[in-house]
C-alpha cells in the first residue's frame, strides 16, 4: 500500500500578491473565456476555482440556458452564487462586494448549446468574434441511460454547435468528455489519444453517419422512451460502448476531435471535492452515490472484480487540471487528448473501495447517522465483492417479497370474511413489500448499468500530459498521486455523498445555503439572444 497523507490543495491566490511570470495566474490574467454547462457540478467548481485562483481573469462569459420563462439565465447564475455551497469561499472573501466583484468578471449569456451558434444573438456573436481566448465546453448529460434523443441533442449536437461557435469566434476549444469513452475493452491501458473513426471495439465508422443512423433508429423505435433507449443501446453496443452516456460522448469526440484548435479533456469518475470549495462538496447524482446507497440496503454482495481499478478523481483535482490545461492551450501547447484520472499513478481497486465504503458506513452509523435498522444490523454486515452471475443473489429476495405481497393482497381481498382490522394491516404489508420490491428492482437496474465499470473492464488511464504540467505552477498543482484513499474515502467522500448525493437518491432535496439578507444581483444587464 502506498498511502500518503492527504495534502491540501494550494491556497487560493490572494489578490494582493502579484502573479509570478510563468504561473497560471500570469498566463490567464486579462484573458476572456466562454464556458458552457455552468449549472452542472464540474463547471461550477471550475468557474469558482478560476475566480478564486485567478482574480485577474479578464472576463468569463457563461452560456446558461434559461429555465422556461420564469427563470432567465442570469437569475439561474445569481441563484447559484447565492445558495450553492461551491461559492462559499467567494462569498466569504468578498462579502457585500461580491456582486460588484463578480460583475466585473462575469457576463451571463442567455443561450442553449442544443441550438446552432448556441442561440447567441447576432450582435453578441459580432461583439465576441476575435475577442475570445478559449471556449470551455462542460455542458453535457451525465446519466448513463438518458433518453437518446435528448442525449444526442445535448452531448453530440451540443458539442458540434460549440465547436462551430469556436470556429466562428476564432477561439480554441476545450471539450470536456469522459475517460470512459474507452468503452468495453476488457483490461487495457488507455492512451491519451483519439483515432477518429475507430470505435472502442475497433469498428471503422463515421460519426456523422452513425448520428444519422441513430436518429433514424430512435425515430423507428417510436414514442416510447424505453424503446428508443433499447434501439440506441443496441447501436452503442455494436460499436463497443456499454451505455448511452459513453456512446454519445464518444460520438461527440469523433465528430469534433479532428478539428483544428480542439483539445479533449477526459476526466474519469468525478467525485467529492478534496479541498475546494471545501472537503466533501458534491452536487447531483454521481457515480459512487448509488453504490454508496446500495451499501445501506440489505444487499451485501456487489458483483465487482476486486482487483479492477475504480478510477475516481475528486472534482477539485479535475478543476485544477482544467485550469492547468487552459494555460497550455493559451500558450499554444493544447490539442489532442488529456486524461484527468488516478488509475495510472495511484490506483484504487474495487475491492478496496467496497471495503472502505462499508467501513465508512460503519463509522457514519456509529456517529449517529442512519436508521435504527442501519445502526443495529446493516452496519455489522460488511459489503463484499462477489462474482457476477445471472441472479446476483437478488432473485431469492425478489421471490420472497412477491410471495409476501401476494399473501397480503389475498388477505386484503377477503376483508369481509377476515375482518377490517386484519385487512388494514395487510394493506400496510402490501405497501411495504411493494416499496421493498421497487428497491430490489432499482438495485437490479443499477447493477446492470454499473456492471461494465465495476466488473467487466479494468482501465488504466494514462495521465502523462497533465502530470507533466502538475509541478510547474507555484499556485496550482496536479497532485493526484498524493491522495490517501483511506482518508479521502472515509473522511471526505462518504460523508460528502451522505450529505449531498444520497438525499437525492431517496427522493429528497439536497441542502443549499440560505440566501443572504439582500438578494444577490449582478450589476450588469442580461444579454438576450
Amino acid at each position: 500500500m502506498t498511502d500518503r497523507a492527504t495534502v491540501p490543495g494550494p491556497a487560493p491566490a490572494g489578490e494582493s500578491t502579484a502573479a509570478a511570470p510563468g504561473s497560471v495566474r500570469h498566463a490567464l490574467a486579462g484573458r476572456r473565456l466562454v464556458i458552457t454547462g455552468f449549472t452542472g457540478f464540474l463547471a461550477k467548481v471550475f468557474v469558482a476555482l478560476l475566480l478564486e485562483s485567478v482574480p485577474e481573469i479578464g472576463q468569463i462569459y457563461l452560456i446558461v440556458r434559461r429555465r422556461a420563462r420564469k427563470e432567465p439565465a442570469v437569475r439561474r447564475f445569481e441563484r447559484a452564487v447565492e445558495t450553492s455551497p461551491v461559492f462559499r469561499p467567494l462569498r466569504a472573501r468578498h462579502g457585500a462586494d461580491l456582486a460588484t466583484w463578480l460583475g466585473a468578471r462575469i457576463t451571463v449569456l442567455d443561450g442553449d448549446v442544443e441550438r446552432p451558434a448556441c442561440e447567441l444573438a447576432t450582435e453578441t456573436l459580432a461583439r465576441l468574434t476575435g475577442r475570445i481566448d478559449l471556449i470551455v465546453h462542460c455542458a453535457g448529460l451525465t446519466d448513463f441511460m438518458p433518453d437518446p434523443t435528448e442525449a444526442v441533442s445535448v452531448n453530440v449536437a451540443g458539442a458540434a454547435h460549440v465547436a462551430d461557435l469556436a470556429t466562428r469566434l476564432g477561439a480554441p476549444l476545450m471539450h470536456i468528455s469522459t475517460a470512459y469513452v474507452a468503452g468495453d475493452q476488457g483490461s487495457v491501458t488507455v492512451p491519451e489519444s483519439l483515432v477518429v473513426g475507430r470505435s472502442p471495439n475497433g469498428t471503422a465508422f463515421q460519426a456523422a453517419g452513425e448520428l444519422c443512423a441513430l436518429t433514424l433508429a430512435c425515430r423507428a423505435a417510436g414514442a416510447d422512451a424505453a424503446d428508443r433507449k433499447e434501439a440506441a443501446l443496441a447501436r452503442a453496443r455494436q460499436l463497443g460502448w456499454p451505455n448511452l452516456y459513453t456512446y454519445t460522448k464518444g460520438l461527440a469526440e469523433h465528430l469534433i476531435g479532428d478539428r483544428p484548435g480542439v483539445t479533449i479533456v477526459r476526466p474519469s469518475i468525478v467525485e467529492c471535492a478534496r479541498t475546494f470549495p471545501f472537503p466533501g462538496w458534491n452536487e447531483g447524482l454521481n457515480t459512487a452515490g448509488p453504490l454508496a446507497w446500495l451499501i445501506t440496503t440489505p444487499y451485501r454482495r456487489l458483483p465487482a472484480a476486486p482487483d479492477h481499478r475504480f478510477d475516481v478523481i475528486p472534482v477539485d483535482d479535475v478543476a485544477r487540471g482544467m485550469v492547468l490545461i487552459t494555460r497550455e492551450i493559451l500558450e499554444g501547447r493544447g490539442g489532442g487528448v488529456f486524461h484527468l484520472a488516478s488509475s495510472d499513478v495511484n490506483p484504487l481497486t474495487f475491492g478496496r473501495c467496497i471495503e472502505l465504503t462499508g467501513l465508512a458506513f460503519r463509522r457514519w452509523t456509529r456517529k449517529g447517522g442512519g436508521t435504527p435498522w442501519e445502526q443495529h444490523l446493516i452496519r455489522h454486515l460488511d459489503p463484499v465483492p462477489g462474482p457476477e452471475d445471472a441472479d446476483r443473489g437478488i432473485g431469492r429476495w425478489s421471490e420472497l417479497l412477491q410471495r409476501a405481497r401476494d399473501a397480503a393482497d389475498w388477505i386484503e381481498a377477503r376483508e369481509d370474511r377476515l375482518g377490517g382490522a386484519l385487512a388494514d394491516r395487510a394493506r400496510g404489508w402490501s405497501r411495504q413489500t411493494s416499496a421493498w420490491l421497487s428497491d430490489v428492482d432499482r438495485v437490479e437496474k443499477m447493477l446492470d448499468l454499473y456492471q461494465p465499470f465495476i466488473h467487466d473492464n479494468d482501465y488504466r488511464f494514462v495521465t502523462d500530459r497533465v502530470r507533466a504540467l502538475g509541478r510547474t505552477d507555484p499556485d496550482l498543482r496536479w497532485e493526484v498521486d498524493d491522495i490517501c484513499w483511506r482518508t479521502y474515502w472515509v473522511d471526505i467522500e462518504y460523508p460528502g455523498l451522505q450529505r449531498w448525493c444520497i438525499p437525492l437518491i431517496r427522493g429528497e432535496r439536497a441542502p443549499t445555503d440560505p440566501p443572504g439578507p439582500t438578494p444577490f444581483r449582478l450589476p450588469h444587464l442580461l444579454e438576450s439572444p
Partner: protein
Amino acid sequence: MHTAAFVRAEGPLLPYGAVRAAAWLAANAQDLGSRAARLGGVALAAPFGLSDPILALRLAWGALRGTSEDRLEILGEEYWETQLRGKLVRVGQDLLERARADGHRVVLVSDHPDCVARHLAEAIRADVLVCNQLELRAGRATGRIADPLASRFGGPALQAFASAHGLSLAGSLAYGTAGTDIALLAGVGRPCAVAPTAELRRAARDLDWPVVAP
C-alpha cells in the same frame, strides 16, 4: 538529562489485554466466513494466556492474517472509542498526572498494535509511544508482530531507548501490572507495581518495590 514515567498500558491504564482487541477485530472481519475462522484462531490463543502471554499474543494476532490495513486502522479507532475510552483505569491516570506534574516525560508502552495504542497515547497525552507493530505486506497484515515486541520492552532495549531519547533511567519511573513487566520495572530507579498479578507481586515483595492497588 530528562526523566520519564514509563507506563504499561495493559493493567495500569487499560482493563483489557491486547488479545481481546484481536478477538474483537476478528469478530468484525469483512465476511462471515472470515469472522468464524479468525475467531477460531484467536480462541487457540486462550489456553496460553497465563502460561505464555507472548505466545498467546502472537497466536491471537496471527489469526488476523490477511486483514487490510484500512480495516485495522478504522476498526482500531472504533475499538478504542467503543471498548476502551470510557474504561480507563483511574489509578493509572492519577499516577501519570502526578508524574507529569513532577516533570517526567510520559512513555506509553503497549502490547496493542499501533492502530489501537495510538488513540490511547493521544488520550493520555503521552510524549512517546512504544507499541507492537503488525507486519504488513501489500496493504494486508501478514499475521506477524514485528520484532522487537513491546511486551519485552526492558533490559538492553530500554537502555538503548533511554540513550536515544536522552533519558536518565535512574531518575525515571515505571508502572506495570504483569510478570512480563518485570524487566521494564527493573530497569528504572523508581519502579511501581500497579494492581499486580501474583508473579509481579512476588517480585515486588522480593525487590522491595512499592505496590499500588486500585
